[in-house]
């Protein structure tokens, strides 16, 4: 726990990720402090999803180091992954299992004490209790997303990475997700990407603007608003 | 190696083996026959070995010149861009 306060929650040190024909991330240097909530915005192809995947350790960057609480994620022990919860556009759920089976499986692997109780708790949070015993393959896209969200935070991670958690959600679920992010996960470090800036802005403390041409720009929410005003006038 | 070359090598080897197999009727010299009787085999072995080397060398050389061409093109592109920046 000491690490958590001594180091930045997430530290990207000169991170680049080049695919064969394009550069998704280019010399990115960002620091995200514990408790910070960062909204990543940018046009398609600016590397938002790549950033989430790279920080989560699903993609190895071409260059550079990512540290979570001061530890290089590609050299850390598997135990260190307990601090990270990641949701990409695919929910990472076994489709022939029910929601409960999925959550139990991942909960066990994450060493969550008292898994069945924790599942009920999380199901209440996202009001998915009635969906838990259906097969994932029968669920709608939005419900899968909610279940994926439940999987992401089942082990109570300190760093939560969400790639477009709002896509495919109806207005009610959006509200619900907003409340969860805003209240329940208040003390967590969160990085999320979204196209729905109006929905996401009130939830965050900082904004990172990625673009294909320009350098990434990280601003606090207040600075972002004033920049925005400036551009409008 | 580009997969096409591998395929070609396999097909080539196959054809070669088939040709050799087809010529199976060749008389085989036993101990008592004249020492020159197995000359076709000697010729085949050396022909195959040299052909193999030459084809591979040709493949390497063609790749090399293609890559050199590409490098030259890109260097030209690079200097062009640099010039356009200075102007």
């Amino acid at each position: 726990m000491t690490n958590q306060f001594k180091y930045a929650a997430i530290e990207c040190d000169n991170v680049s990720k080049h695919y064969i024909s394009e550069r998704a991330l280019d010399h990115l240097d960002i620091n995200i402090k514990t408790g910070e909530r960062l909204l990543v915005i940018g046009p398609n192809g600016s590397g938002k999803s790549t950033l989430i995947n790279v920080i989560g350790g699903l993609i190895r960057p071409t260059k550079g180091i990512i540290r979570i609480h001061g530890v290089d994620i590609h050299k850390s022990s598997p135990e260190h992954r307990k601090t990270i919860g990641i949701l990409t556009h695919r929910p990472f759920l076994y489709e022939d299992f029910t929601g409960r089976e999925n959550l139990t499986f991942f909960g066990k692997l994450f060493n969550v004490p008292n898994v069945s109780y924790r599942i009920e708790e999380i199901a209440d949070l996202f009001t998915i209790g009635h969906l838990l015993d259906r097969r994932v393959s029968l669920l709608s896209h939005g419900n899968r997303k909610r279940l994926g969200m439940a999987r992401t935070i089942i082990h109570d991670p300190n760093v939560i990475l969400l790639d477009e958690p709002d896509s495919g959600l109806d207005a009610h679920s959006l509200d619900e997700l907003g409340q969860t992010l805003g209240q329940t996960l208040q003390s967590k470090t969160i990085v999320l990407t979204s196209h729905n800036v109006d929905w996401a802005l009130p939830l965050v403390t900082d904004v990172l603007q990625l673009s294909t041409r320009q350098e990434a720009l990280k601003t606090s929410i207040r600075e972002y608003h004033s920049l925005h005003e400036l551009r409008k006038s | 190696m580009h997969i096409g070359y591998v395929v070609r090598i396999i097909i080539g080897t196959g054809i070669l083996i088939a040709l050799l197999g087809a010529s199976d009727g060749t008389e085989i010299a036993t101990t008592n026959q004249s020492p020159e009787a197995n000359l076709p085999f000697l010729f085949a072995a050396f022909a195959v070995a040299w052909l193999g080397f030459i084809i591979y060398a040709w493949y390497l050389a063609s790749q090399h010149s293609r890559l050199r061409q590409e490098i030259a093109n890109m260097q030209k592109q690079l200097t062009d861009i640099q010039d356009s920046i200075e102007n």
């Binding site: - | 090598i9 050799l20 101990t31 020492p35 070995a49 080397f53 591979y56 861009i81």
Partner: protein, 234 residues
């Protein structure tokens, strides 16, 4: 670099020519096998050198997985490619030798089986390279295949040793007994071995150069991208 090239090529040419002279003119014809015995002068060096790539591949692939530097991957790939060439030629020349000598094109002898498996492993290695798109994955996967493949070649040899071998004893290899052969034959085998060894080394070096050319193209593309990026920022 160009001068080195020429010296190397000249050396190969001289060695090749003297090997040909020795093989066809100086060396006496074998009493038992006739002229087909002369195939040995090219078959044995090819076969012996085919055993070196697995060793190189094992070492360089391990180094790649530990260090992750692309030069090891390039060396491993080059030696597999040259190894495929040498193994193919060793198999074909060996087969051409076997027909007049043993009366068959092929026999399931441990040495032959090992070479055939080695040949398959090399093909598998090249196939996995061409079927994997991302450069990083390609290097990792082929390193794994390379390591297991070279261990496997050894295991296949040991496994098929369980059956009796009819491959001739290695009297003609480097481990030959001293008085077993005519000095002219010894000289012939030595010179053609050196010639083919030079060829082997040269092809591997030349092949790795293709890799560095590809890398150079990559870094040139990076530079161009950087410039374009800078222009568009102005």
């Amino acid at each position: 670099m160009l001068l080195q090239n020429r010296i190397m090529l000249g050396l190969i040419l001289i060695a090749m020519m003297s090997a040909l002279y020795l093989i066809f003119i100086m060396v006496p014809t074998d009493v038992n096998l006739g002229v087909s015995q002369r195939i040995f002068y090219i078959h044995v060096p090819l076969a012996v050198l085919s055993l070196i790539p697995p060793i190189i591949v094992f070492i360089t692939s391990t180094l790649y997985l530990v260090r992750r530097s692309p030069q090891w991957d390039a060396l491993a790939h080059s030696s597999v490619e040259v190894g495929l060439l040498f193994t193919t030629l060793a198999l074909v020349t060996g087969s051409i030798w076997a027909r007049p000598t043993w009366g068959v094109w092929w026999t399931w002898d441990p040495v032959l089986t090992t070479f055939l498996i080695l040949w398959l492993v090399y093909l598998g290695y090249l196939l996995i390279r061409s079927y994997t798109v991302e450069p990083d994955k390609r290097a990792r996967f082929s390193a794994i295949v390379g390591i297991l493949g070279s261990i496997n070649a050894l295991a296949v040899y040991l496994a098929s040793e369980l059956w009796r071998t009819i491959h001739p004893d290695k009297v003609i290899g480097p481990a030959a007994e001293e008085n077993a052969l005519d000095p002219a034959i010894q000289l012939g085998i030595l010179v053609s071995f050196i010639a083919i060894l030079l060829l082997f080394a040269y092809t591997i070096i030349f092949r790795t150069r293709l890799h560095s050319a590809v890398n150079q193209i990559g870094s040139l593309r990076d530079q161009i991208d950087d410039l374009v990026y800078r222009i568009s920022n102005k």
